[in-house]
Every structure is written in C-alpha cells, then in structure tokens.
C-alpha cells in the first residue's frame, strides 16, 4: 500500500497500451502520455511494460509507502528524493514502510513535464474494458476513474523475483530519452493536406515553422501557437470555416488537428472523432515527446516523414542495457 500525500498538478494511474478497440464508441486509448518513460520505468524494475504506474504532472508529488517494494521514477528531469535523499532517475530503488518519495517543484530550468513512478507488480486497480488506465474525460478506469487526491491509498503489487533481481540497477545513460525545450516531431502528411485543404506552400510552411505550446495543454491535446494555415482558395469561399468538414474519425493519438486557425496535437486522450481536418500525423515513435511538452514554454517543429520511412523505424528495436 502507498498513500498519496500530494498529487502534483495531476496524477493518474495509467498503463502502456491503454484501452484499445473502442474508438467507435468515442473511447480514446488513455495510457501513458509519455509512453517511452512509462515503459522504461517498468522495465527498470522488472515489471511487465503494461504494469499500471503513476503518471505525475509537473512537480510537487509526494507519496508514502506503507510496505516494502521496489520503485523507479523517470520522465522529466525534476529531481526525486526518498526521505530527503535524492535518487537517480531510471534506477530500481528499494523502499520500506514509512519511506516518503517526493519530487521537487518545477522551475524555469525544468526539462520535460511528466514523470512516471513504477512500483513492483504495478499499482493494483481494476481492469475496465481491457485496461487499467484512467479516462479522465469519461470518469472511468484507473483509480476510481479520476485524478489521484491527497489521502488516496493505492494497493501495490506483489514483489516478484524479477523485481527483486532488479534492485540497484540503473538504465544505461544511452537508453535514457533526451529531454529538451525544443521538440521535433516526425510527421506524415494527411489525411487532410494539400492541395484539397491547405495549399502546397501552406504545408511547406507547417513543416518549417517553430510553434510554441500554449498554456492550454493537457491529456486531451496540445494547442500550438503559430501562423494561421494557408487554406485552399475554394474552401475559403465555400462558407463556414475552411477547417470544418463532415465529422470523421480522427487518427488518434498523433493527428495534428486544425481547429479554426489553431493547430492541436492529438494525444492519447483526445476526441476520437469530430468535424475538423487533420493536416498531418505524428509517427508512433515520436508520440512520447507529447507527454514532455512544458505548456506555455516549449517549442515544437514538425519534420517531414513518409509512411515507408516511418515503418522502417519500427523494425529497429534497440535492446536495453543496465548499469
């Protein structure tokens, strides 16, 4: 068992795969916003990659363990401590009853925005529609279908032999994701790009613009600040806003939606469908970065990628190593 003392900006129980196969009734995947850090902290302590872990947003998170376990924390570079002593990120650390794990506050120098706390055996919550992840917009899954609050007591899993064997090991430096304040997302054009919706020059501009994340960013999407898209002239004269089309299923997560003249990157808990175009779509390998965008500060660029190139990337799987 472990008790939440302070939940940070938003803390939820999430898993790696999320809730798949229900987008046709409006249920998005949910799951780790940074699915790379979430997976890695589980792997560090010898958990299954899909074991439910705590997603922490910003800093100021605090939890008290009430039994022995093994944990690892990773994601943003906000420092974490046990009983006041700093611990390394992506390291399997033993905890004892009464131990308090705490994360520092965010600062102007912070890189990244979300952290993942994995515990041996995972956080024990009921499965709903095939996943343990929390659907914040819908109020189901995870811990009582909601954000964690101070005083919540979470049940933690059984410490397995694999968990025990992991104690003290740390992910090699070369396997740790690199954090920044200027993120590059490889993205495939489509489904609604040039020439039908946006001009050729307009697409060229999207791939050559440095956008800024707005303050209004959460698990349902990341709003970008930048120039208005260059719309196809026929659509401009058709009446209504040129970003409006007959409602369609969205490529989620990954789609870059255009709402009016604002680009919104669709994350793991975005709407599954709607009446706005998606001009480009971030490739699977770069989705994790969305979870680390610092609202109101970080800059975002898109890099052209074609489907073949994106699929080739999926075939290379670098093995993990530990120190």
């Amino acid at each position: 068992m472990a008790k939440i003392l302070s939940p940070s900006i938003q803390a939820t129980v999430q898993d790696y795969y999320g809730r798949r196969g229900f987008m046709d009734i409006g249920i998005a995947y949910s799951g780790f916003m940074d699915n790379l850090a979430g997976r890695l902290v589980n792997q560090v302590i010898g958990n299954d990659i899909n074991a439910p872990a705590i997603e922490i947003t910003g800093g100021g998170f605090e939890i008290e363990f009430q039994e022995k376990s093994i944990i690892a924390i990773g994601g943003s570079d906000i420092r974490a401590s046990i009983n006041g002593n700093y611990i390394e990120h992506y390291k399997a650390v033993e905890v004892n009853p009464g131990d308090i794990i705490k994360t520092d506050r965010i600062s102007a120098a912070t890189k990244g925005f979300r952290q993942y706390l994995a515990v041996a055996g995972g956080v024990m919550v009921d499965e709903y529609l095939g996943s343990h992840s929390t659907a914040v917009y819908g109020g189901f899954g995870g811990f009582n279908g909601r954000n964690l609050k101070a005083g919540d007591v979470l049940e933690t899993g059984i410490v397995s032999e694999d968990n025990k064997a992991s104690a003290g090991r740390r992910l090699s430096r070369k396997c740790i994701p690199i954090l920044t304040d200027t993120w590059t997302f490889r993205a495939v054009p489509g489904p609604d790009a040039a020439p039908d919706f946006i001009t050729e020059e307009g697409m060229e501009e999207i791939y050559n613009t440095e956008y800024k994340a707005q303050m209004y960013c959460d698990r349902s999407g990341i709003r970008l600040k930048g120039p208005a898209p260059k719309w196809n002239a026929d659509r401009m004269s058709a009446g209504g806003h040129p970003s409006n089309i007959t409602d369609h299923g969205y490529p989620c997560p990954g789609g870059v939606n255009i709402s009016g003249d604002t680009l919104i990157m669709f994350t793991c808990e975005s709407p599954t469908s709607g009446g706005l175009i998606c001009a480009l779509s971030v490739i699977e390998e770069d989705l994790w970065k969305m979870g680390q965008i610092f609202p109101g500060r970080d800059k975002i660029r898109f890099k052209y990628c074609d489907v073949k190139e994106a699929v080739e990337l999926k075939k290379t799987d670098a093995p993990l190593s530990f120190e």
Binding site: D24, P191, D247, Y250, G254, G274, C305, V311
Partner: protein
C-alpha cells in the same frame, strides 16, 4: 501522389450513384477512406450525408466480417471510415487493396433494408444545467457571443432558420433522427433528421465551450449530438435528455456496452420538463427506468420516397433560412 504533401493514394469510382472513393494516408498506422473529395458540408444535402453514412456502415460490416490481418480497429465517420492498422502486419498499399475489393462489391445502397432499432427518449428544451453551461461560456470564454441570449441558444437558432422558437421545438420533435456515428467523447451519437422539413441548421460556437453537462443535446451544421459524459463542446445547445452512457453499469441497458447508441439507430424525441428528466437520472442510477427501444426496419428506398414527398415543406424551410441569413448579415 502528385506532390509529397498530397496524402491521396488512390481514387476509385464504383458506380454512377456512389461518389468517388478517396483513399487518404492518415499517418504511419492510419488509412482513411472518404466518399467524395473535400466538398464543404454546404455542398451536400441531408440525403447525400445519410446515404454516405449508410454506405460507411455497410462497408464497415463487410470489413469486420472479412477479418483483415493487421487491422486493429475502424472509426466510422459521417462519410468516411478511419482504419487503424499495424503496418508491420499489413502495408498501407495491401490494406487499401483489400478495402478496394470490398468497396467494389457495393455499387449502391439505395435498395438496402437495414435491421435497426428505434429509441424514444424525452427532451427538456429548458433546463437549468443548459443555462449554467451557457452562462459559464459567456462569463469565462466569450462575453460577446451573439448566439447566447438569456442563458439560451434557442432564440438564435430559431432566428438563424427564420422560424419561431416554438416552430424550432416542433421541427425537432417532428422528425426521426438517423444516427450516423458515435464518437468525439464516450458514447456521443451524431444524428441527422430523416425528414428534410426538419433540416434546421446553425453555425458552431467560436471558440468552443469548455463545459457541457451530461445529457446535453446540441446542434450545428444539420447535425445533432447528445453528450454521454461532461466535456467540452462546440454546437448550439438545444436541451437536455436522459443518460446515454454508463461506464460501471447499474442499469441493465449498459451491461454489455457502456454506450446506448450505435450507427443506424433511429431516435425519436418527446418534449418534457426539467423535473421529469432529472428524476430519470436518479432512476437510471438505481437501474429502474425503462429505455423505450423497439426493433425497426429502415428501407432506404421507402425513406427516399418519403424524403422526396416532403420537398415542398423542405423548400419552404430552405427559403426561410436563406432570407434569415441575409437579414442577419445585414445587421
């Protein structure tokens, strides 16, 4: 592809009555198939949209039956199907070829007879939670929203269509609605009027609303929706109905599927009061309210005949809408 920014990988023509079938790459693991190429919604009639939606449902059923390796899930849209697939199992080109084969089997949907359900639910046009959502929007998002008047959008919608608020309510009740898709947020059905004399329309909110209560019914661009859960939203609010989504079922209706609606369902509304609606929320939570659901056959050819027989009334409404919009633009 003519340019590296053109996502259209293939366009096929399956018959004279079916709009061109456009295959669009939609990411590294998404493929979208759309009927028609980027026409604005204003260029389509309700008839076009419903026929395309029937085609989407038909093709989706065939695709599911075909059991394509590597296909993870599909998301039906009003005139499109989004395919989510694993590119390490099936390539985009191979998937597109398999879908093309299925598309070519269906030349026309005009003679389809759909076995579906008719669901009758109450609506309260005046409701304090709707008023709360509109007041909140005016206070926190857009104080100059001309479509929000005294905590209501009904007066604006009526004016935009050149009819009175009473006529608006009457038109809303006086049609069966066809559910074309479910999505956006959990359980939310999108539906269009089967009766063209009830084809009311209005623009969306700009910018969007940050909060909408569960059960809210809204409308824009001829399309209505019901909110399964509290969420943001962008259409003009009409009223409030009963719960349509329940994640942890306390009611038998939601035992196998948390969403009440599915594509092709037919919705009928009847008018009631705020108290009546609120009472139902309590009863549903206790598992004690009966949803009125009856099996129903929808023959597309008979519907098309009825649709055409309403043409005089539909044309009258269109004329009122045109005049109203000209008048609103002048002021």
């Amino acid at each position: 592809m003519s340019s590296r920014y053109d996502p259209v990988i293939k366009v096929i023509k399956v018959s004279d009555t079916c709009p061109e079938v456009v295959f669009r790459q939609a990411g590294d693991r998404f493929l979208e198939v759309v009927y028609g190429r980027s026409e604005p919604s204003s260029a389509k009639t309700i008839k076009d949209i419903i026929l395309r939606s029937v085609r989407v449902v038909t093709i989706n059923n065939l695709v599911k039956k075909a059991g394509i390796d590597g296909l993870i899930e599909t998301i039906p849209g009003g005139e499109s199907l989004m395919y989510v697939y694993d590119p390490l199992v099936v390539t985009m080109e191979d998937l597109a070829e398999k879908i093309e084969h299925i598309e070519r089997q269906i030349e026309d949907v005009g003679s389809q007879i759909i076995q579906t359900r008719e669901i009758t639910i109450p609506i309260a046009f005046e409701h304090s939670l709707i008023k709360k959502a509109i007041d909140k929007y005016v206070q926190e998002v857009n104080p100059d929203a001309f479509y929000c008047r005294n905590g209501s959008n009904l007066e604006f919608i009526a004016e935009y269509n050149g009819i009175s608020v009473e006529e608006l309510k009457h038109k809303f009740i006086d049609t069966e609605w066809f559910v074309s898709m479910v999505g956006f947020f959990p359980g939310l059905p999108y539906f269009y009027p089967l009766n063209p004399a009830s084809a009311i329309t209005c623009p969306k909110y700009n910018p969007a609303r940050t909060w909408t209560p569960e059960g809210a019914v809204d409308l824009a661009d001829y399309c209505s929706t019901i909110f399964g859960v509290e969420s943001s939203g962008g259409c003009q609010l009409i009223g409030r109905t009963v719960p349509i989504f329940q994640a942890y079922s306390t009611h038998e209706q939601f035992k196998d599927n948390p969403a009440l609606f599915r594509p092709t369902d037919i919705i009928r509304f009847y008018e009631t009061s705020e108290e009546y609606i609120d009472n139902i929320y309590g009863l549903v939570a206790e598992g004690n309210w009966n949803y009125t659901i009856t099996p129903r056959t929808l023959s597309i050819s008979s519907w098309l005949e009825q649709y055409d027989s309403k043409e005089r009334e539909a044309a009258e409404l269109r004329e009122k809408q045109t005049l109203a919009r000209q008048h609103m633009q002048r002021i």
